[in-house]
């Protein structure tokens, strides 16, 4: 409320009745205040209070349920899903490869002790592997090839053979080395505060850490990043590199809307308190 001081009746100009449009417009403006309020201070709602502001609601995400991906089967079933740009290919499998965690293999050297990764890297042309529960995503060395079918068929055959053998897929050292969620949260927050946000601030953007589950991180890109066509590229190239520099054992890094593509279908989209 803003305080408004009233004037005496002598100071108030009363419009003279004229038969014109102008005078009719003047009449609708309150010109004379009630006598009892003259000289007193009355409270009048401010301009903001007169206007009903629309409720600003927060948009939240719900988990996508993908029940029909695989039929009930004892058989090993694998589906390949290349990205629209062809820069990566996600494989979904009706088996859990790494329950509760995700792991990023940055190259052949990082695959030591993990037959799953060693085998895929040995196919040639596989640059990186990201394993997350029932899915794994590959990028390739030759970025000019966008047709994933020939390599995907080889990948499917290799994974099926490995699973049929029943041996260890991923090194037990991987789980043992994963830091606590708190350590990951602190490291990622530091990366956001020190490098990521100062970097995207120039474009009016900001990045918020939404959750850490196991070693999987979910972030939200806001401000100028939201809806920006470069956001996907920025996220992959810049933010991923920075996060992995600060927290080398971080696994999958998702934008809160990635679950639409089925990468993290069980993400709730809420802050981890």
């Amino acid at each position: 409320m803003e305080k408004v001081s009233t004037q005496s009746t002598a100071d108030v100009s009363v419009p003279i009745e004229k038969n014109t449009t102008e005078s009719r417009q003047e009449e609708v403006v309150p010109s004379v205040l009630p006598v009892e309020s003259v000289g007193e201070t009355i409270e009048r709602p401010s301009r903001d209070e007169y206007e009903e502001k629309p409720v600003v609601r927060r948009v939240i995400q719900a988990p996508v349920i993908d029940e029909e991906l695989f039929p009930e089967s004892q058989e090993i079933l694998i589906k390949a899903q290349p990205s629209p740009t062809g820069d990566q290919c996600m494989f979904r499998i009706n088996r859990n490869l790494l329950e509760g965690y995700s792991w990023f293999f940055s190259g052949f050297e990082s695959a030591e002790g993990s037959p799953f990764a060693e085998r895929l890297f040995s196919l040639g042309d596989v640059a990186t592997i990201l394993v997350h529960e029932t899915a794994f995503t590959l990028t390739r060395e030759d970025k000019t090839i966008v047709d994933w079918k020939p390599l995907a068929i080889e990948v499917g055959k290799a994974v099926r053979e490995l699973l049929a053998d029943g041996g260890t897929l991923l090194s037990p050292k991987i789980i043992a080395e994963i830091p606590s969620e708190n350590e990951i949260r602190e490291g990622i927050q530091k990366a956001i505060d020190e490098e990521v946000n100062p970097g995207v601030a120039g474009h009016g953007g900001n990045v918020t850490l939404l959750s850490v589950t196991g070693n999987t991180v979910t972030i939200k890109m806001g401000g100028g990043c939201q809806g920006c066509s470069a956001a996907d590229l920025t996220l992959k190239q810049g933010i991923h590199t920075t996060f992995r520099k600060y927290v080398p054992k971080v696994g999958a890094i998702y934008d809160e809307t990635d679950h639409a593509a089925g990468l993290n279908p069980f993400f709730q989209g809420e802050l981890n308190a």
Binding site: V55, K79, R92
Partner: protein, 114 residues
């Protein structure tokens, strides 16, 4: 983002129901759903839809004016222009007077068996 001709929504309410009309927000404009059947009371199922015939840059389900609305499951059937219709099923979520649920999902990427 394809042009959206029409969408249908089926909402299964959980323990906490909602009173009042079910509204959605398209490109920041709040609109009530059409052809509504059923209810949003606890344990009930509601169905509605809307003839969009435009490009949906954002599509959300608006939370209740008061209290919590526990949604057990949402199924959205999209009928886009020039591409095949597709459906998306969303899991449990709670909406209130400060929230709205993103119900827009891009068409699924093609997959193949390997």
């Amino acid at each position: 983002m394809p042009k959206l001709n029409r969408f249908k929504i089926k909402i299964e309410t959980g323990d906490a129901g909602m009173e009042g009309p079910v509204r959605f927000c398209i490109n920041s404009h709040q609109v009530p759903l059409e052809d509504c059947v059923g209810s949003t009371a606890a344990g009930q199922t509601f169905e509605g839809g809307f003839e969009v015939r435009s490009f949906a840059h954002s599509l959300t389900l608006v939370g209740p004016e008061k209290g919590n609305w526990n949604i057990k499951r949402v199924q959205v059937d999209f009928e886009p222009d020039a591409i095949a219709p597709y459906s998306v099923t969303l899991g449990e979520v709670v909406l209130d007077e400060t929230t709205e649920l993103n119900i827009w999902k891009d068409p699924p990427q093609p997959t193949f068996d390997v």
